[in-house]
Symmetry: D2
Subunit: 140 residues, 4 copies
């Protein structure tokens, strides 16, 4: 287990019409999609944008597990504060945890997404690149 | 705890370009989206289509938890056999479990989505409608 | 024909992984989805957020036509400047035109989305609400 | 101009919750997404599945224009008959036209998507592969 990040990252998102469904709330997969968007924003701000890990020959970062809990409805136009933390970082995997709150502090959802390092060839696991560990805050 | 369904439901889906991402595989939220589509297909085939529970005044079925595990990459054009089962059905909630396999039997992903009954007003929990319990196979 | 808006609106968006496909570029519908998101941002900034027109009893604003032209590939992580203008505003319809450029000025796409006023009941056309015309800049 | 296809292709789709929005109808980009899904189904049935044109070194088929017209609302659970035809096929581009109808024949939407051949390198246009022209019905 490497060092957990000490400074959580946060971002503001607004739930737009295309993320809602005819039950009148955000469609459930959108919490996970927004969590991934905030993770990409975090990576960019940390100097290791995701597209580096999409290049041919790069170690890949497939998602091996994702989950979301929902506590209160979210509607079109709602602004959400998303707080992101990297947890459980090892040499070969890490978890991205996000908490979603309305601007009045009401918790509405939380997500956890687990990435693992995979060989560029697509088969077999691989150590996470040092540039990524640095960005995740797992290196001193 | 009511009776679990005895006859699992299954469906065939093909992963289309719009569900993939530039890592060359399906985007992770699509497993959950496809699981929900197969659940809707199951409900229709059981005589209780989802749109009945979107009507004004109906008990709502919000998702309170969703999770997915990924075992192997899925690419554009892959056909997947999705096997659905209703588990853990109580008077106020139920889980929809889906297993995804390539046509050669390779398991690629599994999902679990938990729905709870909620009052039409949007606040407070509610008993699941009898027509739904019937469709879920939870009534004799 | 009412007055066209004189001050175009612009916004910055970043194309995230979930909007790309396994051809390595953004999936074509995402240009239209992002255009609608920027339109929603414009409406909020103009004091008439879209959710006002989703409320029961409100005049609806269904889309009757949408189109997009693509000039250059857009990839995961690309930042885009989106310039929005309201054109062709009448009492019963208006067009939202967006131009997408990379930050170096390269034009990559343009979209046009036409909305029409519709009765709350869902059948028949309706005059656009004055609050909307004001927000669109079509009133003096 | 090559030969237009003589035998239109058709498919049945059901609009699921994830394609709807909180206005209670399908989100407008979903008509184009469904049209592309039916096009992929057509290509597979014609022996030239889309993933062949995603392989490294293959001529690419980027979309250069897309448009949709909407005539009537479509709701969660609606079944739609989608009729596809290939029009305007030249050596370097072709159009895919889809008409969407409810099962009672009510026309609800139509789409047109224009693809162009592009060099594998990503820059410059290219002739469409003969296998594709064959699949499109443009060769005798």
């Amino acid at each position: 287990m490497l060092r957990p990040v000490s400074t959580p990252f946060s971002s503001l998102v607004v739930v737009r019409l295309g993320r809602t469904d005819s039950a009148g709330v955000w469609y459930f997969t959108e919490a996970l999609d927004l969590a991934h968007e905030v993770f990409e924003e975090f990576l960019s701000s940390s100097g290791a944008p995701l597209h580096l890990f999409l290049a041919p020959g790069s170690v890949r970062l497939p998602i091996v597990h994702a989950e979301a809990d929902f506590r209160a409805p979210v509607r079109c136009g709602d602004s959400l504060r998303v707080s992101l933390a990297i947890t459980s970082c090892t040499k070969r995997s890490f978890s991205v945890v996000c908490d979603f709150q309305l601007l009045d502090g009401t918790p509405v959802a939380s997500t956890r997404i687990v990435h693992a390092g995979a060989a560029a060839s697509g088969s077999g696991s691989a150590d996470l690149p040092e540039s990524l560990l640095q960005a995740l805050g797992a290196l001193a």
